[in-house]
Amino acid sequence: MQELWGQIADAVARIRQVWNGNVKAGIILGTGLGGLVDQMTVEAAIEYEEIPHFPRSTAVSHRGRLVLGALAGVPVAAMEGRFHAYEGYPLQAITLPVRVMKALGAELLVVSNASGGMNPYYSAGDIVVIDDHINLMGDNPLVGINDDRLGPRFPDMSQPYDRRLTERALEIARRGDIVAHRGVFVAVLGPNLETRAEYRFLRLIGADIVGMSTVPEVIVAAHCGLRVLGLSIVTDMCLPDCLEPANIARIIATANGAEPHLRKIVTGVLAAEWPH
């Protein structure tokens, strides 16, 4: 982790060439959720390949650029497209953007993703406000000699998702008649979807939804002291005893369909955190 300090500085310097604002919140947009950017007052955008040390996004339905501007009147940096461990990138590279957002001034990180629902009370299209997570990716972005300037060696994880932001998101959902649950997210490496036996296993260990992202970014956010709001769209139900083959097109369509709900929650939380 010794090289991170310099990498962050390089990336920030490049971004500062196109935009000089001060970010309050960072947003990571997952599968099918890129549309949130339409709601932003975009001041600048920069392709990932132009930012030093950033990997490139290769996943379906992910663009690859950092959008800078305002959302609900709050200055934000939004990642349109994220990186996944299953693309072959090391977790330290995947999570570099989180550290860059922190360096740009962010105090808060909103992470979003598409997930498979294992809790039988959920339905496709529901929103889950992530309350906690289980890391089963078999790796950790903090492996290496710790750089104490970036965060502690052993970050506490008793509450990686900020309680106040979680409550606020659920409250906004209730007011907007949006189905939203509080749930536990489990991250697996992927890229294959889970077997029925794996779904049973993940349910047994206490998870409500499963995905292949988000946990590395949240661990790094906890390491560098960002408050985190995690939002997930349940894009298909993964009930092992009546499992259908996954249909990626339908998954992305469900994510796109639920995206206005997610948008409402994110803008509502930002507006409540920084009222005008």
């Binding site: 289980i134 790796d139 502690p152 052993f154 994880m157 509450q159 260990i205 206490g206 390491h223």
Partner: protein, 300 residues
Amino acid sequence: MSLHDRPPETPRTLRSAVESICNAWNCQPRAAIILGTGLGGFVDSMQLQTCIDYRSLPGFPQATSIGHRGQLACGRLADTPIVAFQGRVHLYEGYRFAEVTLPVRIAWELGAEMLLVTNASGGVNPLLSVGDIVAISDHINLMGRAVAPGSTAIEKPDQPPFEPLCESPAEPSFGGRRSLGYCPRLLRAILQAGRAARAPIVPGVYVGMLGPNYETRAEYRMARRLGGDVVGMSTIPEVLEANRLGLRVAGLSTVTNVAHPDRLDKTSGAEVAQAAADAAADLGRTIAAFLTNAGTGAPQ
């Protein structure tokens, strides 16, 4: 030098590390002890004969985390010759499996019959208290890295790669890949020794996580539901390597915090190291009693 540029271990680096130790301390240890977080103070209870700085051992990985010194203490405890690795390295520091397990190969080359691994852990069994000692009866490997890709470390050579400098241990009763992990006889002896030393000792299952972050509430609940009693970030690589080589293993874990996922407090590295240091006296008496029994052939 960054961690990524380190040369891989060769039979030669292992041999030269063993040679340096034999030059400084010409004795065959009966037991090797790996001291975990905050337990370095155990060395004070030994009759020290010599201390070898890890930096003077060729190819030896250097500890980077808190609560870990970096030296090999050689001497006697309860009249038994032992070596104690004061400080260990971990997978979360970025070290390879082969590097984390080097002390085990050194212990084997020195002729030790058994390996005692110690660590500090978080209790997930609500019946545990801070300061309890768990005699590890078994483990669950959730570290995601049993063997580094490309490593040949798991292939046990039929013969050591060279003539051992010290006499090698007799053919072990347990060993090989389907071994019992933690020797049941040693486990019984350790529990007995702990009780004799008036230490709060119980048997339990150790869950190894990669770390370095502490676990989330959901992860603690998972560890409990899977059958774990304590959770930590070490020990499993060393135990796997000891099994491969046929060293008998006993594991002792000091409980430095107890996770109650439904009212979880924050965990800090400094608190864990302090709690481990507080429990070091109990641990030291337990190990001394265990070696005394082993040395005099008392019933186990």
